[in-house]
Symmetry: C2
Subunit: 109 residues, 2 copies
């Protein structure tokens, strides 16, 4: 079973939804749900993934990640702006920042 298949199946069953019921909520065919869960659909369109994410009340990015369409994590533009400060740092510099934060945290106690 594919990564995306597991993702949909787990969350669907966790909500006690049949494939038909999920399909109805997502406004797609139940057949498509079945194919996605069984890895028979190689390249599903982001649109149907969005419908399914909405129906399952899950973040769109999560299902896109499960489908292998994006890697990493998506964040809001607001947080991204604050984060932009450190985006030019090297991995080693990030490591130093990491240590510094640990130092700050220990200083609390």
């Amino acid at each position: 079973m594919s990564d995306l298949g597991k993702f949909i199946f787990e969350h669907r069953t966790a909500k006690n939804l049949s494939s038909r019921k999920l399909a109805e909520l997502a406004n797609i065919s139940h057949t498509e749900i079945h194919r996605l869960e069984n890895g028979e659909r190689k390249h599903p369109s982001p649109l149907v993934l969005k419908f399914i994410a909405n129906a399952l009340q899950l973040p769109y990015d999560d299902i896109m990640k499960a489908a292998g369409y994006i890697d990493g994590t998506c964040i809001s533009p607001l947080i991204a702006a604050h984060l932009a400060i450190i985006t030019d740092l090297t991995d080693q510099e990030l490591e130093e920042v990491h240590n510094f934060i640990e130092f700050l945290r220990n200083k609390r106690k």
Copy 2:
């Protein structure tokens, strides 16, 4: 012209590439480039977008954003991990981290 169309056209011409040349680099047909730039393709697959991003030497997330497939900004898992770390810091501690980053940046020169 669509958002994605503008995106591809601007970056292609900025690199002095013809649609045929870009298509060759991306291993897709030049017709598809044409259709994407003119907004004739409603739902392009993320796969061809990835090919084009690679050919144009641009981040995959940027073209996905232009296509409307993701919103917000995508960050690497590494940076995401560091972001998770600082969520519990106080404003004053964040200020100290900020200063520390400035210090690191100055140390480079």
